[in-house]
Amino acid sequence: MSASLSVPRLEWLRLWRTGRLLVLVLVFTFFGLLGPLTAAYLPEIIGLASQSDGITVQVPDPVPADGIVQYLGNITQIGLIAVAAIAALALAVDARPGLAAFYRTRQPHPLSWILPRWAATSLAAVVAWTIGLVSAVYETVLLIGPLPVGELVAGWAFWVAYLVFAVAVVALAAGLARSTVAVTVVAVVIIIGIAIIGVIPQIGDWLPSHLVGAPAALASGGAEPGDYVRATAVSLAATVACLAGAVALVRRREL
């Protein structure tokens, strides 16, 4: 009987025993529950605040898509930073030289450890995103009103493509920097940089950052799934490019 510790099991233990999967799920679920709550009671909250100042502020009644907008607004910042940090903990192999020597001398090609770590972290992020979205949808339906299921599923898939790309950016950052903190910072800077470039209308529709607003836009009827095909294709191509770049950079780097 063999007692081998397979690479998939290694990655599962990395997510489970370190509590990283739990952290991701808690972060996304928290904002999944908070977002619709905020959207549903925003008029009352603002109304109460304005009364104390003697000013009357009229806030329109919330629509179901607002619950998703609030959820996305939170996870696009804190959620993505959590994903980047947790991905960096897995992908910054060279942050600990002794550990790097353990893997590099046994598996000389970096693809053999970059690919499973990227895949496992991406899967964890997708699980967290899904649980968070289901929480947000459930509470939105409960507090505000029904949401279109088909559009939400499409929006979910576009975000999956974005998360997979974001984790690949962290892999690339791990080829550019060594320490976990530095890898996280470089990855977040790249992701923010792409989002800033995405403000330019002619370019923005092509960039991965365009996918961030897809679930809300689709749920509100303000967009069609076809509007995100280009950005999805670019995201998937960029994911492959980031992973290839990560492998090339790590392979060139010495301990």
């Binding site: 510790l5 397979s6 990395r14 353990f102």
Partner: protein, 304 residues
């Protein structure tokens, strides 16, 4: 290109420069199969760089490395081994074997951990291990892949005397089934287990060969000669002999005699004592050690 069958590893003109006197500057290494090769030299001599080049963790500027074995049969134990802190010792050994294509059986894992004295810690997470336990776990993780060549970088430098002795015992046992290359600046450790040594100084290999040859070549042999009664006549005769480099009267009838060669001493001392009718109690050769040989070698300004 394959190495000669009696060599498990060789390099030719290996260079990785970090400056005029830093790095590895043209090393022709020859590691005979089935030996314990001790790579010695002061801090900064290039030992870790050389091991990094041999394991592919660093790239050479020039030169070649010829490995006479499958690369997966080469194991490295770095000077500061690290493992995933959330794995148990058993899982680390299992992972180490799996990654080199040799997934071990539970019995093999148990036996590897027992061999390094970690049987009781098999199910403990390694994040709580001491430095010595981690070092021993690294030896188990290296051995589980049945390596043909094991490279150890300063394996005992951070251990207490008991830990050092245990690690050296493990290396000696290892040498029965694999070639071991041991890098260390603790020369006593190298002398205890190595039969071939390479001496690195500022990136150059200034000596490579059997340990005993190094001791014989770079240490002038000396003897402690104890004489009962008067020893002046013997002292005078030895000081006038051309094969005696130095003869010191240590008092109490004890002379320290340094000769040109072992042969001169072994043949000449009894003859000289007999010639002056000295009452010799004992003639004891002074033990040569690697540290003295190393100092003699480096003091002699030997060029690579």
């Amino acid at each position: 290109m394959t190495v000669a069958s009696d060599l498990v590893l060789s390099t030719a003109g290996l260079i990785r420069s970090y400056g005029p006197d830093a790095g590895v500057l043209g090393v022709d290494l020859e590691v005979p199969r089935g030996t314990v090769y001790g790579l010695v030299g002061p801090n900064g001599a290039g030992k870790t760089t050389l091991l990094g080049l041999l394991t592919g963790l660093r790239r050479a500027d020039a030169g070649t490395i010829d490995l006479g074995i499958d690369r997966r049969r080469l194991a490295l134990v770095p000077d500061v081994p690290e493992f995933e802190r959330w794995l148990t010792a058993s899982e680390v050994v299992a992972l180490a074997g799996t990654l080199v294509g040799a997934p071990p059986s539970p019995a093999r894992i148990t036996s590897e951990l027992a061999a390094v004295g970690l049987a009781d810690a098999a199910d403990r997470r390694v994040g709580g291990f001491s430095r010595g336990m981690t070092q021993r776990l690294a030896l188990a993780a290296a051995n589980v892949g049945d390596p043909e060549l094991v490279l150890l970088d300063e394996p005992s430098s951070a251990l207490d005397p008991a830990g050092r002795a245990a690690v050296l015992d493990l290396i000696a046992a290892w040498a029965e089934r694999a070639t071991v290359m041991l890098s260390s600046h603790i020369l006593a450790d190298v002398q205890r287990v190595a039969d071939v040594v390479g001496v690195l100084r500022t990136g150059h290999l200034i000596y490579q060969g059997p340990l005993q040859t190094l001791l014989d070549r770079y240490l002038q042999p000396s003897w402690a000669v104890r004489v009962r009664g008067s020893h002046e006549a013997l002292l005078e005769r030895l000081r006038s002999a051309d094969w005696v480099e130095e003869c010191t009267d240590l008092g109490g009838g004890l002379l320290r005699v340094r000769t040109r060669s072992v042969d001169d001493g072994e043949r000449g001392l009894p003859v000289a004592a007999a010639a002056v009718d000295a009452r010799v109690v004992s003639i004891v050769p002074e033990e040569a050690d690697l540290e003295s040989a190393f100092l003699a070698l480096t003091a002699a300004g030997v060029q690579p």
